[in-house]
């Protein structure tokens, strides 16, 4: 069952100097429970796709269907508000959606405790490590129980060591909460290590160049997948496709 479906979506940007075609006839879908990754050359319009999927932009042409409207967005930087404690940061979406009742709060804080943020709830973001901050950002995204998670290169601002660990961490949490996710990244290895399916985009204007079912067990965490036999094979295939 599709949770998100793009059908022949095109998107043009207008600036005073020019009109830019970001997407050209893009079609793809994400099924409920899947973890999909989207890779493409930098500047190909990946973030535009997420903005469209989140409903922040309207497409110039084509159709976008979302089954169940709630979407959680996770960005490159954690974007935690430095003047709020971690607890207040996690509860921010509830305040915005005016769902700040006891049940919702308890649920969000339960998630925070379950995933090891209990001791940090009263801390301010700059007292946390980069990995912990990104985890707090994920819990904030999950606070509204979204059906679909949109991940916009959420690990790219972290150093390599932290990045592998946080990727594992986020994957584990998303899987154990049984969420659907669409990750965009320019990191081929990252895409292979988390995704059930990978979409390869062309350079701008982006269209779908290829789609692969990677076929690792979804119980295999990202770090383990990097050691699997198929990993380097997939890496080679995707690398060639991106550079063709």
């Amino acid at each position: 069952m599709n949770i998100l479906k793009f059908t022949n979506v095109s998107m043009n940007y207008h600036t005073k100097r020019q009109e830019t075609q970001a997407l050209d006839n893009l079609s793809f879908h994400v099924e409920r429970g899947e973890f999909c990754a989207m890779i493409g050359p930098s500047g190909c319009g990946k973030s535009t796709i997420l903005s469209l999927a989140a409903g922040l932009l309207a497409p110039t042409a084509g159709k976008i269907e979302r089954d169940g409207t709630s979407v959680g967005y996770m960005l490159q930087r954690d974007e935690l508000f430095p003047w709020r404690t971690i607890e207040k940061n996690i509860l921010l979406p509830l305040e915005i959606k005016k769902k700040n009742d006891k049940v919702a709060r308890a649920r969000a804080l339960y998630l925070a405790e379950k995933y090891g943020l209990k001791d940090f709830l009263k801390s301010y973001p700059d007292q946390l490590s980069g990995g912990m901050r990104q985890r707090a950002a994920l819990i904030r995204t999950l606070a509204l129980s979204p059906d679909l998670l949109l991940l916009d290169e959420p690990f790219s601002a972290l150093d390599y060591q932290t990045r592998l660990a946080v990727c594992d961490d986020v994957y584990r949490i998303i899987k154990s909460e049984e969420k659907t996710a669409l990750l965009i990244t320019h990191d081929i290895g990252e895409a292979i290590s988390v995704a059930d399916r990978i979409f390869v985009l062309s350079a701008r204007p982006a269209h779908l160049k290829a789609e692969h079912k990677v076929g690792f067990e979804s119980t295999t965490p990202p770090l383990k997948r990097r050691e699997c036999e198929g990993f380097s094979k997939w890496f080679e295939i995707l690398w060639k496709e991106l550079n063709a």
Partner: protein, 269 residues
């Protein structure tokens, strides 16, 4: 909580402390030295005390005029004008900045006007103010607000507009309204811009009120300065300036204290 520190660190702390003490002592010494030099120069007639006055004459003047009653009255008048002008211009500047942030078209439309108003020396409006507002405190307050408001608006608007785009996108993805974005993000993240605007505005408000008094007033320290200059009572001029120094510094220190309070409350680090 007791912490053990190494000998090297203790040595470092000691040196730092010594340095701080030296700096503070030197500051006091410099002030005393300048005052003494001034006093001696006037007493020995190196300079003509009739035009330079001297610290002891200033103290004497302040003392005799404040027991006579009207120096404190004049200081009070100026202080009140400055405070009212400061709060009024801060409030209006905040409202304008808010409006211009909310409505980008209004921002574009008013941009050249704000540039011109900012560049215009407000003192040039003096004669107009006398005719429009009369020669009372209304004119002085108008002058104070005019001097302050453009800079207050521009500073605050700059703060509002420098809000992190990523955080705005995040809030929008949660379905936030513009009011949500304003109250949850733009205002709290503009706190430091607001505080630096207050600091600038304190200085501007004093400029405005004294300038206003130069043009129209019948009371206030600005009036005393003009009057003292006209009748060649330099003791009076210097006393009024000394009082202005004290009050302006006190007001700045109050804002700095407020800043410290708010910043430590915002994040106990």
């Amino acid at each position: 909580m007791k912490k053990t520190i190494s000998a090297a660190h203790a040595e470092f702390l000691k040196r730092e402390k010594k340095r701080t003490v030296t700096i503070h002592l030197s500051r006091c010494f410099l002030l005393l030295f300048l005052l003494a030099l001034w006093e001696v120069a006037a007493a020995l007639n190196w300079v003509n005390p009739f035009i330079t006055s001297s610290p002891s004459r200033i103290v004497k003047t302040i003392f005799s005029l404040s027991t006579g009653g009207n120096l404190l009255y004049h200081a009070g008048v100026t202080l009140l004008e400055t405070l009212i002008g400061f709060f009024l211009s801060t409030l209006l500047g905040f409202l304008f900045a808010l409006l211009l942030w909310w409505n980008p078209t209004a921002r574009k439309i008013t941009e050249p006007y704000i540039v011109v108003l900012n560049a215009l020396p407000k003192i040039a409006l003096g004669p107009l103010l006398i005719i429009w507002c009369g020669t009372g405190q209304k004119a002085i307050l108008t002058m104070t607000v005019l001097v302050c408001i453009v800079i207050a608006t521009m500073n605050l608007l700059g703060g509002f507009l420098s809000t992190d785009e990523g955080k705005i996108l995040l809030l929008r993805s949660m379905g936030a309204s513009k009011a949500n974005i304003l109250f949850k993000l733009v205002l709290p993240s503009s706190l430091s811009a607001f505080l630096s605007m207050l600091k600038i505005n304190v200085g501007m408000a004093w400029i405005g009120s004294v300038m206003g008094e130069y043009i129209v007033s019948k009371a206030g320290l600005g009036y005393l300065i003009v009057y003292g200059g006209q009748v060649f009572k330099l003791d009076l001029v210097m006393s009024a300036i000394a009082l202005l120094c004290l009050m302006a510094t006190a007001m700045y220190a109050a804002i700095a204290a407020l800043e410290k309070l708010l910043i430590t409350n915002a994040g106990e680090k």
